[in-house]
């Protein structure tokens, strides 16, 4: 039932988006914004050619998400639980967190070349900061009483981390991950569109350069689907790992 509602929701959202798109396209009447059926037909036609690009983009983003989330979680929980580490870590975070990491694209392209490395480095950094900040806050909000009662069972610091700190932070880490998915796809697009000749971002900008707007939109649809897919994967994993929390909605 819940699954059925969910699918219905997606269908309804897609219909609304397509209607809006069609309306906008009619109103603007400019080849840069083709009608949805044109773009969708082109999407179907271009899909085989796009598949390698999709794989590369997916690879870049998934690897970055894993690197960013794992390292961010470990460091965030650590500085959230250690007084000493927080003394240095907290001010460092306050300085670095607000810097828009995207401005480092040119530097990374120079340093890391045009392959996967600059995209992965940048996206993992974005996700890393989001996760560190979230994990630190989550670790700080753990009830001292809960820790005390687990410690009274003879728990070591590792036991406390495993049975209390990590599981209690997991829901907020998933929220952080979900929020950073959008940013991650955006950063991916920017990096791929500026340099290299691989990835969906490149595919879009390349079509744009050829003034082939239908193909450009096929790429945009692919990029959007990539975002939706990641979002759903995160939800799936979260439902597996966080069964205990009451679900919002």
């Amino acid at each position: 039932m819940a699954r059925f509602k969910r699918i219905l929701g997606y269908v309804a959202a897609t219909v609304v988006t397509l209607l809006f798109w069609a309306g906008l396209s009619l109103a603007i009447d400019n080849p840069a914004l083709p009608m949805p059926q044109v773009a969708l037909a082109q999407f179907a036609e271009s899909l085989p050619a796009m598949i390698p690009h999709l794989w590369i983009s997916l690879y870049r983003i998934v690897v970055s998400m894993v690197i960013g989330t794992v390292s961010g979680t470990i460091l965030g929980l650590f500085i959230g639980r250690s007084h000493l580490a927080d003394l240095i870590g907290a001010p460092l975070l306050y300085v670095l967190y607000p810097i828009p990491k995207i401005v480092f694209v040119p530097v990374l392209l120079v340093l890391l070349g045009l392959g996967n490395a600059p995209a992965i480095a940048l996206i993992s950094t974005v996700i890393f900061f989001q996760t560190v900040v979230t994990a630190r806050a989550a670790a700080k909000s753990i009830s001292p009483d809960l820790v005390q009662s687990v410690r009274s069972l003879g728990a070591s610091r590792i036991d406390v981390a495993r049975h209390v700190v990590f599981p209690s932070a997991l829901p907020s880490i998933f929220t952080a991950l979900r929020i950073s998915t959008g940013t991650a796809v955006a950063v991916l697009f920017v990096v791929e569109s500026i340099a290299g000749n691989t990835g969906v971002g490149f595919y879009i900008v390349n079509a744009w350069g050829r003034i082939d707007y239908a193909t450009m939109f096929a790429g945009i649809i692919a990029m959007a689907l990539l975002g939706v897919f990641l979002y759903e994967v995160i939800n799936f994993v979260e439902n597996r790992l966080v069964r205990w929390a009451p679900k919002p909605e």
Binding site: L146, Q148, S149, V150, L153, V164, P167, W244
Partner: protein, 263 residues
């Protein structure tokens, strides 16, 4: 003469925070025999929880010594169970895994730990909730789960911090019965902290009255009639409650503090 299970001698405890120092306990000495159930009663803030934390090995005394089963404590001890006011349940673990937590931390294989935890859940009467999560439990069942965790560990010392204060009257009565039954079956040493006069009289063979700031022992009262639920209907019980109430209300002859016990 039975063995001494818990021995606090000349214990004082200071909390230091950035702005100030609080002397929470001062020259606190208490012996509890193995298998003896005692109750500690006193106003909130008088240092009851601190006493439990000291016995549990979670705090070190500023001066004085704490011995458990004849040995000076150096940290938590596996067969001492501390049940805190909020039950100390982990929301992300099932009821069964919460009950098994102590055993898992002691590195018992999961399968064996769960089997023992299942027995413990049965003992406290909540085995049908084994697969639920703590948020699905009522207050009374949460308390039972906290006790199951201790039972699974085969604890010989049970420390309880106001275990029944958050429960409604009916549930409280059921749990009082369970507490008495469990103690009689397992004959562990029990230290129960409370601010309820009835609970102290029902569950403490000796009742320790504390005075606050700094926490000191004001008086220790023998309560030999304690031991079954029917005790509450006897005149002996009512006399005991009246006496405790008078002692607690009367601002303490010979004591210098004014805001001593406020109930």
């Amino acid at each position: 003469m039975s063995k001494t299970a818990i021995e606090l001698s000349g214990v004082s405890l200071k909390y230091r925070s950035e702005q100030k120092e609080t002397l929470a306990l001062d020259n606190f000495s208490l012996e509890v025999a193995a298998g003896e159930p005692i109750a500690i009663i006193g106003a909130s803030g008088c240092g009851k929880t601190s006493v439990l934390n000291l016995i549990a090995g979670l705090l070190k005394p500023t001066s004085g010594t704490v011995k458990v089963m004849g040995e000076a404590l150096s940290g938590p001890r596996s067969r001492t169970s501390l049940i805190l006011q909020d039950y100390g349940l982990l929301p992300w673990k099932t009821v069964l895994d919460n009950a098994a937590l102590g055993l898992i931390i002691q590195k018992m294989p999961v399968r064996e730990a769960r089997a023992r935890a299942t027995d413990a859940l049965r003992t406290v009467g909540i085995e049908e909730f084994a697969r639920s999560y703590p948020r699905e439990l009522s207050g009374g069942m949460s308390q039972r789960l906290a006790m199951a965790r201790a039972m699974a560990l085969d604890s010989d010392i049970m420390l309880m911090d106001e275990p029944l204060s958050a429960l409604d009257a009916l549930t409280r009565e059921e749990l009082q019965k369970t507490l008495i039954d469990l103690w009689q079956h397992h004959s562990y040493t029990q230290v129960l902290v409370t601010h309820s006069i009835e609970e102290a009289a029902l569950l403490g063979r000796r009742i320790v009255l504390m005075t606050p700031r700094p926490g000191r022992i004001r008086q220790v009262i023998e309560n030999p009639g304690m031991g079954d639920l029917d005790y509450r209907h006897t005149t002996e019980f009512h006399d005991m409650c009246r006496m405790l109430r008078e002692l607690l209300m009367n601002k303490g002859e010979g004591s210098t503090t004014v805001e001593e016990v406020v109930l």
